[in-house]
Amino acid sequence: MNCREFTEFLHEYLFGNLPAAERAEFDKHLAECPWCVAYLDSYRKTIQLEQAAFATAEDAPPPVDAPEELIQAILQARARSS
């Protein structure tokens, strides 16, 4: 396995979608390649960052309500359509 192959399929490795023999190939490559170790770690952190960027912090206030004008627009549109 080389870095190109590792990079192309690392998501399958990361999420445990590979048969044991192929997984062993990935493990062997990782043991020899610090660059792919760094790439895999940063790929994993990228996913965590995406989710953290939109997550509500535990100590954050409750999400704000939708603007009243939007609520009224929805209610009026429903009244017109019913």
Binding site: H11, W35, S42, E50, F54, A57, P62, P63, A73
Partner: protein, 208 residues
């Protein structure tokens, strides 16, 4: 991420979903208003993640509620109202996205790894700071990551938002985007790689 929309607050505001649903199905105006007030904030947050324009996001929420109310008689109540509404607003937002005048997309190729003859990356990856995720406690850092997601080519950004942020399955995403499982998997992987490229300067060790 089943309850992306139905947070604690909405659950508290709507003490008994079965009663609320029965009242809506009976045509009770107050029940419809309670439903809009309980869930519109969360639905707007979902629409904003899919659509970058505020007006489009609000229109999508309105479309979603009207569509939901129109089909309220067919909703069996087996899933939570919040889960049901989440699916509907995702659909409504995607419809708006398709209808919007599409800008020419930048190619994603430049954001993917490139390899030298020896099959190593031309720009060798550097380790990222161990504290990368903790940094996102700061609002400024969260805004920066969201900004990087919004810079992704639309075709890839939408798959990343649906799968990684909204928590939809590969199958659901493929169905909503009218494409195959393989295309969704490939686009998601490339979207993450491209996002990694955008984030790399901020998080690699040795950077401020």
């Amino acid at each position: 991420m089943e309850d992306t929309v139905g947070g604690t607050r909405a659950a508290g505001a709507v003490a008994d979903e079965a009663i609320l649903l029965a009242r809506m199905q009976a045509g009770d105006d107050d029940a419809f208003e309670a439903c809009v007030r309980a869930y519109s904030g969360q639905l707007l947050a979902v629409a904003r993640r899919i659509l970058s324009h505020e007006e489009d996001a609000r229109d999508a929420v309105q479309d979603a509620f009207l569509s939901a109310f129109k089909g309220i008689g067919r909703f069996d109540g087996l899933s939570r109202i919040s889960t049901w509404l989440h699916r509907i607003v995702v659909n409504a937002a995607l419809s708006r996205l398709r209808a919007r005048q599409r800008r020419p997309e930048m190619s994603i190729e430049d954001l993917l790894p490139h390899f030298a003859e020896g099959e190593h990356q031309i720009d060798p990856p550097a380790p990222w700071k161990a504290t990368s995720v903790a940094i996102l406690q700061q609002q400024e850092a969260r805004d920066m990551v969201r900004g990087c997601i919004n810079r992704l080519p639309e075709t890839y950004r939408i798959v990343l938002v649906l799968r990684d942020i909204e928590g939809l399955s590969t199958e659901e995403t493929a169905q909503l985007l009218d494409t195959t499982l393989g295309v969704v998997k490939t686009r998601l992987h490339r979207a993450r790689q491209a996002l990694r490229s955008f984030l790399d300067p901020y998080f690699r060790e040795g950077e401020a």
